[in-house]
Symmetry: C2
Subunit: 286 residues, 2 copies
Amino acid sequence: MNIVIIGLGNIGGSFAQAIQKNTKGHDVYAIDVDEEALRTAEKQGLIKKGYTDPKDIIPKANFILFAVYPKVIVNIIEEYYSLFQENTIINDVTGVKRKVIEEIENKLPPKVDFIFGHPMAGRENRGLKYASSEVFIGANYLITPTKRNLPDNIKWLKDFLTLIGFSNITEVSPEFHDEVIGFTSQLAHVIAISLINSDDISRNTKQYTGDSYRDLTRITNINDKLWPELFVMNKDYLQKHIDEFKLQLDKLSTAIEDEDIVTMEQMMVESRRRYHDLHSLDMSDE
Amino acid sequence: MNIVIIGLGNIGGSFAQAIQKNTKGHDVYAIDVDEEALRTAEKQGLIKKGYTDPKDIIPKANFILFAVYPKVIVNIIEEYYSLFQENTIINDVTGVKRKVIEEIENKLPPKVDFIFGHPMAGRENRGLKYASSEVFIGANYLITPTKRNLPDNIKWLKDFLTLIGFSNITEVSPEFHDEVIGFTSQLAHVIAISLINSDDISRNTKQYTGDSYRDLTRITNINDKLWPELFVMNKDYLQKHIDEFKLQLDKLSTAIEDEDIVTMEQMMVESRRRYHDLHSLDMSDE
């Protein structure tokens, strides 16, 4: 199969690495504006050949992975509409789904099968040099099938994702995806940014941090050209989650102010219960 | 030296392990209400002998480490006042300092030297079985010397803590300790608890988490018998930090609502700058 990765940054590069490591018989190509990244990936054997012009390789693609900004996906689909092969399977990695599907699906060539997806794998730093197939191992992958998608292609994609390391590949609706990701990913980023930006830097806080602060701020090395757009596209769910979080925060803050030990204990017992559930641990086992 | 660890849970046990691994010539004893933990530690060679009654070993102690709740420290000092040796050095691990020092210092026997401290090392799970000296390696340790402390004893304690693995042992005032820890540790815990408790569990969120959510909720396995008291003892600083965090949260939430990309980008550029500063990274290096 000819696989074309569009966008050879951290996530695209990690896919290239994971395909190289775990599969046989595929030829992997990449499209990027960054020629240096393409040449590096060629030298490392991560890809067979890199292209800066999509029209040179899109016609040969059997599977295309878009690892670029949502707007770039739309632009490429529109501009190279007539060049896509029939039956090409496409997947993306965008963190919101409703708006992206809405914008892209009615622009697709008729026989191209775009199965929208979202790998839930860490990308703390940007760029090809930080790419690593390791981040996919055991990670969750959400796909949001639409009526256009062929069941055989969905099956192929799931098998392929399993092969390159993902653990739970779950089919969900675009609505559910955006609701739950608005919580587990977007709200987490909103909180982390707010926390680190509320630091009084004159204190030189760095010297006084433990694991807690480092954990809660690890995701603040955020791509400021991508995330504002993702937040806006999902703002209905994200605002709902921010409000629910603030209710809990205010409840705890009030309990602290009132020295209401009972309420604090209840909230902590509940948080511990949820922690144990999240990690599938038995609470008596500590 | 005869070292007595009071409280042989995760943190006390980690100290015992770190002393055993990294020092020679000390005899380590422990006091705990949990006889099973004492016998286990004896069998593992972590301690020479364990006691359930403080009066059997406190008179022999040259260095005492309190790894128990603040109230238990006060009780033991009051009850065994006359049994402490002259020149015994004492250290604790309590996460707040002003109130604890205020309560304890005027109850101390005259020639005992209590140097108050706070190891900033992870303790995700409770109990001796999770104890590990590894968590101290490279960790920060704050000490809050008072006028009573002898410079020679402070120096001894710092050398000892360095020997067992800590990296930056910093002297700060109790006020500064509580201010900065109210931010890096307490606010982080308040946020993590509020986040996990705001989850809609009917969604079975666990299946849809990536590293972000797991990072932000790792510290929610919190000791509900200890932390409410710590929060209350530091509520002035903690509330100030919660308010400052909420200002940033509201600013970001408003920008999302208004689709104000410029403000969001500015906040993210700032959070990235702070992330790089925290990790001593060059921002161009990505």
